[in-house]
Symmetry: C5
Subunit: 401 residues, 5 copies
């Protein structure tokens, strides 16, 4: 019943340490994901063309079937016909058909036909970068897209798409990965006492949306910890290299997170505006709750963004402070020793006491011939230094800032 992928769980369990930050690979601000996304889109194809991304996983098929009292669960990978047969045999049960992996165009097209899905919808499922949305089709069926987030061990947000189609007695879900964040929901379905099993099948679609939403919070908590760590890193004496990169990178992630959640909120708002015949008032009560959660997640993201922009200010100011400190050291040392060097240079001049003809030149550096000349110079220099130190002390330059 671990609701998080293992790396995210790891990232959350241990707070990231300075060593993590310093040791990990170079961080770029620019978002290769976005570029890849931009590149994947095929240009000029017929809309509704289905492209299987190279490297897509072989689809695994899972089925959970239940009503108030019954529950069965099975994997039908490579046995799609058996799954369809079971569905036809049990129209009285509610079914969750759970497809993970897109790597079989043939299967996808058979499912499109069997479940009455539109090619444009299926294109949205396979083109894995859709914003969250809901569409009504066939009068009262729903096509919903959610985005599941994760915080990776490299301190980046990872997101996957969960696509849902509802039918009279089933929910059909698609996702690209074998692992997901829905295990806690599966456990609830398996439990005989779950109220979920008493609700109509549309509640299952709600529950899936809600679990995805709930999942935003641990992602945010992990980001929050990471931001705190970055703040400490700014003031650490051995500040990691390219720290600002990291700050700006996490800012980018938070901004991206907001851009993920906004459509989610709009999606739920659209559901709340649906007529009674599509979405019952009872279910809307639950979606209203989900709406509040989405807004709270947005508030949190907003708040993190403010934090991070404060971090940028702190970083810049700290950079200035470090420069200031360097300059202060230079100034103190130079200001003390440059005048002293002048004094000692003064008495290193070679003005002659006696000219070539042997005449005494009494005005040329009589100090050099004074019995207490040297000690007097030492005393004078000590006084100068003392005065300067006092001046610096009063300016607060000697204390640490």
């Amino acid at each position: 019943m671990n609701p998080l992928s293992s790396t995210a769980q790891a990232a959350i369990n241990r707070s990231p340490t300075l060593a993590d930050i310093a040791g990990s690979v170079p961080v770029t601000i620019t978002d290769r994901e976005a570029t890849r996304q931009a590149r994947f889109q095929e240009v000029g194809q017929r809309p509704g063309t289905l492209n299987i991304r190279p490297g897509a996983l072989r689809p695994r098929l899972f089925l959970m079937s239940y009503d108030d009292t019954t529950f069965t669960e099975n994997e039908y990978t490579d046995h799609y016909e058996d799954l369809m047969a079971f569905l036809h045999e049990h129209p009285e049960l509610k079914h969750w058909i759970d497809v993970r992996g897109y790597g079989d165009l043939d299967l996808i097209e058979r499912m499109m036909q069997d479940f009455g899905l539109h090619p444009l919808q299926m294109e949205d499922v396979l083109n894995d970068y859709q914003r969250a949305k809901v569409e009504v089709f066939d009068d009262n069926r729903l096509f919903m897209v959610s985005r599941m987030t994760d915080f990776t061990a490299d301190f980046e947000i990872d997101d996957d798409q969960l696509s849902l189609f509802t039918g009279p007695n089933y929910v059909l879900s698609f996702q690209d990965d074998y692992n997901d964040c829905l295990d806690s929901l599966r456990t609830r379905i398996r439990s005989n006492f779950s109220t979920l099993r008493r609700h109509p099948v549309l509640y299952l679609a709600y529950a899936l949306t809600d679990v995805v939403l709930d999942h935003y919070y641990p992602t945010m908590a992990a980001i929050g910890d990471y931001i705190e760590e970055l703040e400490e890193a700014i003031f650490s004496p051995n500040r990691p290299r390219r720290l600002l990169n990291r700050i700006l990178r996490i800012k980018k992630d938070v901004v991206r997170f907001r851009r993920l959640v906004y459509p989610e909120r709009d999606k739920i708002a659209e559901i709340l505006r649906m007529p009674e015949e599509i979405m019952s008032e009872t279910l809307k009560l639950f979606y209203r709750d989900a709406y509040d959660h989405a807004i709270q997640a947005l508030d949190l993201a907003e708040s993190y963004r403010d934090n991070i922009s404060s971090l940028t200010d702190l970083y810049m100011s700290d950079q200035g402070n470090r420069m200031n400190e360097v300059m202060k050291v230079l100034t103190i040392i130079s200001t003390i020793f440059i005048p002293l060097s002048f004094v000692v240079g003064l008495y290193g001049m070679n003005f002659q006491r006696v000219d070539e003809q042997g005449h005494l030149l009494p005005h040329n550096m009589p100090e050099l011939y004074s019995p207490w000349g040297y000690p007097a110079v030492l005393v004078v220099m000590t006084l100068v230094v003392a005065m300067q130190l006092f001046y610096f002390y009063r300016k607060g330059w000697l204390t640490n800032r």
Copy 2:
């Protein structure tokens, strides 16, 4: 009749001093509260599941019952049945059932049943980070959430949730803490001459909302004082360490305050749009007043935010000024003494007047053999220094900026 918690009162009574700022514990910008909030949310649970936060206080039950002429007040902690009995015995009175602390799931569930509350509502009560909101249920009952703010002795905003359910002749309030900001209202109820006791029970719900709103002002006043203190600190010669952190931290608090008050304003606007049968025109007159207050609080928060961003500018500029001053000292000292050092070095050269063969070399440093050479050099150097000082004076570098 102290409307503020004692720490906030303390924070307001004494203006914070520089010593406070300098001496207090290190301040982080990042908001552990937000992270904690993000983390508390349980993932994948059935919506409407009631989670008692570990460490929640044992609930204390208070009852105030009144009409125009009667008034009784009692604590029913651990005697919930007696409270219910009293309510049933006195349907003619208006009651305020005041629950403080959530630490007894059993009691909470009994109250849900007795007062007809929905699990999703109760989840909102217990999950202590709701935005202010109002919901109508059972046709004309209201569920209202307010956020009570406080300014702690550590110069941070603290906020607690006040949840209200209205019924035909009662208001049921929940909060997490034994101490709150409602004592001034309690005193008004106790008074025989209070107009409050003549109004219908919905007025009590209004009065509770209004007290919470009124309470935003001392919080803001405390923040205002603190901001002034921070401004003085910027220019103080011994500027406290990590002052920018403090500035950015209070900025964060003000932003958070705004985010608290916005939903409050929206809540009241929603009440003002309610139909007559739920909210009477007379009460709306009062809510309109409260609406003005909410907007004024937002104006004030906006104005503080501008102040704080000006403080950031000042801080950055002051940092530049300090650097400038350091550089000026270095430049003045160097510029005066480096040429002098050259001069004295010049006459420290060992060019020989006589070569090994004893020939006179008359071009080699005849100055050294001039009877007034040394005094002349001293005079020249004095003139150079005087010229430089005049140049610096004209540039305005000698005066303090």
Copy 3:
């Protein structure tokens, strides 16, 4: 017929000089007004409670009564009964009852009763920090709040509240101060030829609003002059201390001015939307004109805000330029003299021409024994300096930037 308070008039007549800016008292950005405002609000009181602010002035009562042909004017301070008697005797006239000062709760409460005012409205009058607004009460009477601005001799915006109640044949106005900006209107009323006296009494309410609006322009003109002065101050060689404070302070004032005028605009927009039976089309024509003025004032404020933020940029850049200049002086002097000092140091070395045994060491500084050694060194040094000066000249460092 001076439409401005004397200090504002003074601030406008003389353009502020640099001396004004340099000499005046230290300026804080933070806005004690806002804090005071936040603090004044009493917490937990019954809404509608009337609080007389300590130090409020004793109310003075003025009455102007007029129709097309008649005009009388009188002060009724301490003779409230006489005023009421006169009003009852002359229902055919239009009256302006002009109350200045709030310092008599008893009088206030009698007026509330006599003129049918609601406690919540009166609370808004006395709580002197209302945003501009208009409310309809008793079906067709209006309660209007305007904010009168002034630019003080300390270069700050001062604002006072003017509250108006309209009645069938009177306008009742309240303000906190004995002096105001309405004298030009009074003069117009006194004139027998004023069209104002032919309009219905609601026109008087309009005229009061309009005078207040007109008054925003000299305030803005004074701010405009001050901003120009600040710009000159930035580049002045003896820049006043804490100039950035002043810039940010006036920014704050302009922002506050905008926040004053926005509600004024909204108020007029609301009046324009009122039904014919409350506000006649003829009067709306005038309000439409006032609406344009309000928008122009906002445009101007917006434009000043842009100016001031440009000033901040200039200030920061000038700070950088000054630093640059300091560094250039240091670099030029150091770069010229440090190599020269090396050269003279070189020939100050004591390598011996003859060792203890009296052997000649011919490689040890033969230059010192060359007959033209010293002049050659002088020439070399002169060349080095000339080259450096040429380099600096080409870099543009010798010219003033």
Copy 4:
């Protein structure tokens, strides 16, 4: 047929050169225009009072009368009665009454009466700082205000007001200046083949609006050239003084331009929403085209604003680069010569080889008595310099950035 005022034309024909920028008078950011505008507004006057600005030009009256086949054109300055007579004699023609200069209050008031204009409208005409707007009066007549822009030889935007009143068979236009940007339109009217003469007279009002709009483009082109020039100036070695002032000044102008055009766009949008009986569908087709032009002008202004804020960034960064370069020169020279100076100072010490008693002190600076001492020191110093130069070279400090 020169559509631009001569100075603007000049500004456009020759691209501004660096010399222009460097040589022209000091530029202030602050906008005296805005202040003057704020000051002109008289305080407390009766709304609708007509104020002739001191220095307003004596009005010149021009009349163009036309239909499909006829065309006459005449100046009626000082012969207003003749003009009115001509109008009455030729009700079958369409007339453009073109008033330039406001300096005759008497004439203005007679025209108000003759053409049925409202004092508030006339006040808008004379108070020369109106935003673009359109008002319907007398059921189907239009009052339109446009703002004509010009780019002066001083690189500032100048704008004048064009006020139009439409009548059954005439357009009455007012402007403050004898020269304007409407000559191209006049030429079109004079042409016998102009479609303009076949359209109803409202088309003339459209054509006037459209010419003003078209005129925004050469203004923008001139600004665009100027911005390019400023960018080059940033990197020029002899950067003009107060360059940032110029950048911020043109920014201000662009922002002001946007504020001029926004109301223009809103005006046209309002015209497009007018009912068929006021504005025919055919004319709306043309206004829709004008609407697109207004939006394109806004886009362009937006784009210039982005450019200018990039210029500010470049300026600041260039300031940093120049500082960097100064520091690099200082650092290279100091770092090379300070250690060398130490070395030569070392061998300038006077430690004695022989004490007063004539004992040899063999540890005191034996180097000075070594036959190859001096050459060795020279070699060591050369090596040190070479190493340092290599270090600087590797750092990239010797190449130009």
Copy 5:
């Protein structure tokens, strides 16, 4: 079937290298395109006047005609009559009349007449800087403008206009260039199995819009690569000159891209709101898909803008770091050698051990006569240096940041 112009393809195939960035021509931020655009607009012409831009290409005419089973394709350049004849002979087919190049006003005017186009529309076609838009004319015909983007080898966005007119059985398209991004669509039409040929002719207009939209993605991908390259360039030791210019230039391009796509999105939204009789529900399904794509392109552009503003921050901070490093070198060298120079200067003073009278002056620099004086001074200096190095090491100044 290359969907991109060859230069863009080239720009995409090879990732730009640092050498590209360093070697290419100087980059200006200011956008000559925008200025040229502003200048092209003729002032004061009759709206609807057709201006052929000087240098416009000679029009080439292409025709594709198809239905489910038939397909013919031909070039009719210089044979416009044949094209019209073919159209009249085959009313049963769907036609795409594809005009490339505007350089023949005569042809344009004949087409306007033959296809019933309005002069204002044609002006929009020829004035090549229209925002994307859709207009309904003749009740149900559509006039659509799209903007086709390209990323040039100089790392700039280039955009061309595609204008479409729909008719009962044809689509008439205009563009300025012989090469375009529509080849992939042409290939689809040529294919016998294309579903496109079964749809009504309005689907062709959709397909053209969609291909243009799809084309935004490779443009964005190329920008994304370029941004990554710029980020690496910031930290490269031999940073290219005027790197900030490049960053700000690409920012400008991204902003411009957003300004291109926004109207595209609005255009599609307007199509989605069209009534059934103009736009069928089936086609709207496809446009809804295109709407999602437009929003994703905007998201991507938004995300790139954030990236670039982070790059600006990084650049500024890196500039600060480089300055810091320069200062550190200066400080370390100066701080070590300036005190040493003082020490060696001290013992270079010429205080005499014996005065002119031959008296011993025992206090004058006895160190010079101490047998271990010189070695002692060397040891002291070594210790001083060691201490300083330890101090710098502890400060972290010796390690590379």
